[in-house]
Symmetry: C2
Subunit: 340 residues, 2 copies
């Protein structure tokens, strides 16, 4: 590793509106040497996720903001390539961490989690990882989904949405997903949804949702905000539940955007809207892995990744999330799948 360099992405300036390449910088640093008790990890894939946009703003939130000039953080999977006497991790171990946006890092072991990949390692950043778990928690706990209900999922072809659609199908639900291209709609049908809406060509979204749900919506899995939330509210059934997972439509807004004009429908229909952060629900992790493994074996759970190559292209991949450039999970390949 002596002749190799590490490359990492640092936040150069805080984005205003949609992030641009100028907000990021690639820094070259020496590959670090593990100190006593430490290991050296080479990342294979790193994750870019919409929620990271929030951490680029300097404000109090559930995670602290990224700092200017410092390397960004995010999910990553990699392999231990050297050990300096760490008693829990050995060379060849696969590890997950929040040490993304970089190629190499050293760790004492506290900030990494060893895993035994049953499927492709990058899927542990997607369907088998945080985004998949978000879909699982959001539907089964936050929205208290019952078998056979009517479920609407927005951003349905994305990392979270595509798992949400399939969890709901696995529970015998009627599932409608919305996405922003015909290719994505086709993908959703391959995943087995009952109907898919291309919101960019559907015209009046409220009417399109109404047509797809003649009997109304029991559960709406909210990834988008804006017109999607209004259309969902307009079509909810009595005692419906809305899992508030994300609102990608507003993450890049430079001023506060109006909320749904029909929120008062929640009163007459006795609706519940509930926001959540997946990291508060780690007690469901064992169930998640058990169910996902079973569904995958039964052919009920599929996924795709959109893979961008090279850590230097991470900002491009990240920005692409807000342009709908991903089908399934967007990941960046920053090293070989198997480094040792």
């Amino acid at each position: 590793m002596d002749n190799q360099k590490n490359h990492e992405i640092r936040l150069k300036s805080r984005p205003v509106g949609l992030p641009t390449a100028d907000n990021f910088e690639v820094a070259e640093t020496p590959v670090p040497s593990p100190g006593a008790g430490q290991v050296l990890v080479r990342n294979s894939y790193i994750s870019v996720d919409p929620y990271m946009r929030g951490r680029m703003v300097d404000r109090k939130s559930y995670v602290p903001p990224f700092q200017i000039g410092q390397v960004l953080q995010g999910g990553a999977v990699g392999q231990v390539v050297a050990s300096n006497g760490n008693d829990k991790l050995k060379v060849g171990d696969f590890v997950q961490s929040m040490n993304g946006w970089r190629e190499w890092y050293v760790s004492g072991g506290q900030d990494v989690q060893k895993f035994d990949p049953q499927v492709s390692i990058q899927s542990y950043l997607g369907a088998m990882g945080m985004p998949g778990m978000t879909a699982y928690v959001g539907l089964l706990r936050i929205a208290a989904l019952k078998d056979g209900e009517r479920v609407f999922v927005s951003a349905a072809s994305g990392a979270v949405g595509s798992v949400a659609c399939q969890v709901a199908k696995a529970k015998g639900c009627y599932v409608v997903g919305s996405a922003g291209s015909d290719e994505k709609v086709k993908y959703l049908k391959e995943l087995g949804v009952d109907q898919a809406i291309n919101y960019k060509t559907a015209g009046d979204l409220n009417a399109a949702v109404a047509r797809a749900f003649p009997e109304g919506i029991d559960v709406y899995f909210e990834n988008v905000g804006g017109a999607h939330l209004e259309a969902a509210l307009n079509n909810m059934r009595q005692n419906g539940r809305i899992a508030l997972c994300g609102m990608i439509d507003i993450y890049n807004a430079t001023e506060l955007m109006p909320g749904p004009r029909n929120l008062a429908m929640a009163i007459g229909l006795s609706l519940t809207l509930r926001g959540f952060i997946v990291s508060n629900h780690t007690d469901m992790q064992a169930d998640f892995h058990r169910d996902m493994t079973r569904w995958a074996k039964e052919g009920k759970m599929k996924w795709r990744e959109t893979v961008v190559d090279g850590v230097e292209n991470s900002p491009k991949a990240f920005i692409g999330l807000f342009k709908g450039e991903n089908l399934g999970k967007m990941v960046v390949r920053v090293g070989p799948d198997k480094a040792v």
Copy 2:
């Protein structure tokens, strides 16, 4: 009763925006005669409530719309003054019903509920009736209030809000109410709230709410919508709950009004917003009456009514709700407290 007439209020036209006197008409009809098995009831007080505005719109909702030319409906308390062989109701019985906006009516007994007044009969239209029960259900079930939490109540001097403040105080909570006049703020302090905000003179409502809740809000009891909901959302604590009871700010809007621009805060803070209709929670009625009676005896539950005289003034009383003319429950006296 032969020389007496009944007066009732009918919907003359559907209001656009704030209702006006022109939307209503007073009709004089003969006092009806009870048929075989029926009783004649003389109403003492009738209720005007903000939710009735929704029924003046011709749309599908949780209750059917009022019909043009027909007598309006709403809560009423009165007394049986004549019986034609009804086997459950006798002359002198006090009854509650939804046969308001009129002085007299006949009933076979199915649409009335006998009650034994422990306090003034008009309070069964307010604190001891539907509005009080709304506060009780909203806090204890919908918002799952825990002892000692921090509670914000809007429209806090109204029929629902004033009970909500006191239920929360009885549960050992820190309670802040908002209302629209200094007189109402004074009343709230008499009810024992920890702080009261006059939202009309407080300037920046968000800042006022922040000052009143340095540690944030656990539970917001929403009666208002608009700027109140935004200010509450901005100041919620992790895992906070919002009981969506009403949004009086938007009931008279002639176009859809924007929702809260900061609804996405519900995600990061893991908030729950839950709408409800009190009539879906009648299983809590026995608990409600038991607790309210005890709190009233202990001096922990007080109430006032704003009484308008004469059934012909019901529209004026109703319109006054939207101008903040009531302190506590707005009722209309349409007959003697005791008719027989």
